[in-house]
């Protein structure tokens, strides 16, 4: 059951081979047993989960068969990254600042998945305020990679990735500001998708960098991600950047053959920096695609070297302002002792935020300050437009772009935490899609050093999620990387 696809779980629920309560219990028991070693969850609440499952069992949403996805997902458990406000659940964003914050409302994503009948298993660990690529910045301790507990799961959606890899949940949500869905998906051997900016509402998702943040699904396969994305996406009038588009069935193109598909390979992604084991796995995957009838063509993204510097201006700038609301006045952490208002602010924020968050607030405040704004922020926005233009040009020659998701397999704890720039470079292949607002995904394409998973990245045109999922699904039909399990998980 733990390796079953969402469709198989739906069938089991529809045919009453298992109830929503039994299914939730199965995963809760696994979490209880395996989570202490992995630390993937920040909050679990068995009673709440089971009450939700019982409600679904008697709701009549089960067994509605193949009519709509909404009913298809009913009774299937999932866990949310702790960045999504979840009514009645502690929502910490991986920070001491919100360690005691119980949300009084649901994020749009939480609302939509609950409306589809999915049952919340708990809240997943993450880098503090989604700032990190290794999950080492979480106030609640790092998540361990289920493939090797001495290694990082990636970040910031590290809890989400570890939960899928260890089969603690059949589906999870994640968010991606610079690679936070795709990089941990690659490092933990699962499939994750960051949609086009504006496809999924940001309402209720605690903001890191508003113009880059986007929520997406993480699961065992592209087929599962397609089902989840269909349930998550949709216009929301509460998010001004949410796009008003007709509802889409992201599964509709899954079975299309790939013959004629043109795959663009940016030469900048295949140069220095990529580890040989990653290159070997990616090359093998591309060979597989050619066997499936696709052709590959070299393309160029000449400004991609600028994506990391531009990102580390724009994202901290927005974050420095977004995180101002955590001031100890209305909710969350407040320093126990202070002499006056200014002292309350500085002690609260000094004690409530971790080092990486403080570093980014400082960078962000600096680049926005008087006299530096033009040199940094405006310049970075110009680079952003150049990067988007690069992609537009590249997509004139291909249908999708492929390359590595991350330069290396999962690294050891502490390996990069002393050098922020090295850490930031973990997202070198993923950041440009956020800057351009493009959809991107990662899927397992083999194993590298130490038997650790390698991820293949697919980048699509704006709103081309269905085609990316089609490309990923066709690959997963002829390969079994995505079905492999870490040792000790079964």
């Amino acid at each position: 059951m733990i390796n079953a696809s969402l469709k198989q779980l739906a069938a089991a629920l529809a045919e009453k081979r298992i109830s929503a309560v039994e299914l939730a219990t199965l995963f809760l028991d696994r979490i209880e047993r395996l989570n202490p070693a992995l630390n993937a969850f920040i909050t679990i609440d068995r009673e709440k989960t089971l009450a939700q499952a019982r409600a679904v069992d008697v709701s009549g949403k089960l067994g509605a068969g193949d009519t709509a996805q909404r009913s298809l997902l009913a009774g299937i458990p999932l866990a949310h990254k702790d960045i999504f406000c979840t009514e009645g659940w502690r929502t910490t964003c991986g920070s001491k600042m919100l360690a005691n914050f119980v949300s009084p409302y649901d994020a749009h994503v939480v609302e939509k998945l609950a409306a589809a009948g999915m049952v919340t298993l708990g809240k997943l660990n993450m880098d503090e305020f989604a700032m990190g690529s290794s999950n080492e910045t979480s106030y609640f301790g790092a998540v361990k990679n289920p493939w090797d507990r001495a290694r990082v799961p990636g970040g910031s959606s590290g809890g989400s990735a570890a939960a899928i890899a260890a089969r603690l949940a059949p589906a999870v949500t994640g968010t991606d500001t610079g690679g936070s869905i795709r990089q941990p998906a690659a490092l933990c051997g699962l499939t994750g998708l960051k949609p086009t900016y504006g496809v999924v509402s940001r309402y209720g998702m605690i903001a890191f960098a508003s113009s880059l943040d986007q929520a997406g699904p993480m699961a065992k396969s592209a087929e599962d991600c397609a089902l989840l994305l269909t349930a998550m996406a949709g216009f929301d009038s509460r998010d001004s950047t949410s796009l008003e588009r007709p509802a889409e069935d992201y599964s509709r193109e899954l079975e299309k053959p790939l013959s004629g598909l043109k795959i663009g390979l940016p030469k900048e992604f295949f140069g220095e920096g990529m580890e040989p084991d990653v290159r070997a796995a990616v090359d093998a995957a591309l060979a597989e695609y050619r066997k499936l009838g696709a052709t590959t063509v070299e393309v160029s993204l000449p400004n991609s070297a600028l994506s990391v510097p531009a990102y580390y201006v724009i994202a901290p700038a927005e974050a420095s302002s977004n995180l101002s609301r955590f001031d100890g006045v209305r909710y969350g952490y407040r320093a126990p002792e202070y002499s006056d208002l200014a002292d309350m602010y500085s002690k609260t924020r000094a004690q409530g935020f971790g080092a990486e968050v403080k570093r980014r607030i400082l960078i962000g405040s600096y680049v926005l300050s008087h006299g530096y704004y033009d040199a940094y922020y405006l310049q970075a926005q110009k680079i952003r437009r150049l990067i988007a233009a690069d992609f537009s040009a590249a997509f004139g020659e291909c249908d999708v772009i492929m390359g590595p998701t991350a330069p290396s397999v999962a690294f050891a704890f502490g390996a990069k935490s002393a050098d922020p720039v090295q850490m930031y470079l973990s997202d070198i292949y993923t950041i440009s899609t956020n800057l351009a607002g493009l959809p991107g995904m990662s899927l397992p394409c083999g194993f590298g050093q130490g038997g650790l998973p390698v991820g293949l990245q697919i980048i699509g045109r704006w709103f081309d999620e269905a085609r990316m999922l089609n490309a990923a699904h066709q690959y997963q039909r002829v390969t079994d990387w995505h079905t492999r399990l870490p040792e000790g998980v079964q």
Binding site: P104, I206, S240, R325, D327, Y331
Partner: protein, 500 residues
Amino acid sequence: MKSWEVVIGLETHAQLRTRSKIFSGSSVAFGAEPNRQASAVDIALPGVLPVLNREAVLCAIKFGLAVNGNIAPRSVFARKNYFYPDLPKGYQISQFELPVVSGGGLAIRLGQGDEMREKLVHLTRAHLEEDAGKSLHEDFHGKTGIDLNRAGTPLLEIVSEPEMRSSAEAVAYAKALHALVQWIGICDGNMQEGSFRCDANVSVRPLGQKEFGTRREIKNLNSFRFMQQAIDFEVQWQINEIEEGRAIRQATVLFDPDSGETRAMRSKEDAHDYRYFPDPDLLPLEITPGWIEEVRAALPELPQAMKARFEADYGLSAYDAATLTASRGMADYFSRTVDVAGRERAKLCANWVINDVRRFMTGGTRDDVGEPVASEVRDGTPGRDAIRVSAESLARLIARITDGTISNAGAKKAFVELWTGPQLDVDEVINRLGLKQMNDGGALEKIIDEVLAANAKSVEEYRAGKEKAFNALVGQVMKASKGKANPQQVGELLKKKLGG
């Protein structure tokens, strides 16, 4: 002694009359219990997002059209970052580089009667922004309480060019702006509740000097009287400082109405760096020409146009026309009075509205609220600025003067009764007070004959050329008629009899 020139520019925050806040669905009604009108968005819970209220944009478009400014086809909301407990997000959403309205101007009037002159004050810009909440420093268990009901209330910040040259000009500008925002219905103008508040940038320079002096900004002037006092004090203070050899340092000051003085709050050195940047949660505000035309078509006749029409159509003086169009309520009231009374009586209507109606409303002490808003009595419950005599009643009263039913003096008495007494019909009041003039020639002739018979001496004196004697005879007739005779008719009849 040197002569000094005063330079004043005003920044005005007008609270927009929308049903809900500028970025959330909460109500903006005044006076609710603390934090009862604060939603998840207003208190800035994690994860919430702003959504622009198009009603606020509509108000900005109306204003832009009314001042003949440029309405930006694309303007941008920006974040102004600073920490304060009543600023829940840690930033205020405002407009910085690209405001919704730029340019335009406002005509102000200075002086009285024939001395009146107009001046056009140019506007720099007007932009949309949200208000902050309130910190309650008193009586909150010895701590500071935060009330976020006001947080997110829509404001239009209107910035003038530094073109005012005296406190009187500044007050005239503020009053004209106050009347205009109410005229076009975008602000209720209630200064006590903070719906209309001004900051004044004041500097002085030697007469003839081109460069501006260093300015100080007087914050939060919420009455016209305080504005006048504060500017006058500040100007004198600055002149004294300079004359005593001290330089003015840029600063923000507060006016203390109790002492009548301005006091520095913070200097430029500790000014914030607000780290403005475009708000990534909001798309640029796009206003199509079609939308602007739609708003223009629905805009009421503006004060300047109405003033010109009153002068041209009714032959009113510029001052009278300006007085009648100083507020929308007054203008509407006058227009309705003329509609009922007839155009030929427009001048008389104007005199009554300007002299009698306005005097009763203002009572001479209305400098804090400017021109009365002049709402009429509805459902028998007069509001603060209520005109207690309807336009229809005033028109009938005026008609009764011109048709000779009552004298001008009688009409004044009837007006007082109509204003202060129960809401009665004009003719009923005339009857009740016995103000009807004696227009029956026969009865009047009889009285005149009796008066002439009893005052032979006066008759003789009149015939001997003493005009005074005639007036005495008129007086006697009026007295005998108990004031009901029409004095004009009395004069005519008397002349006929004495001449014959």
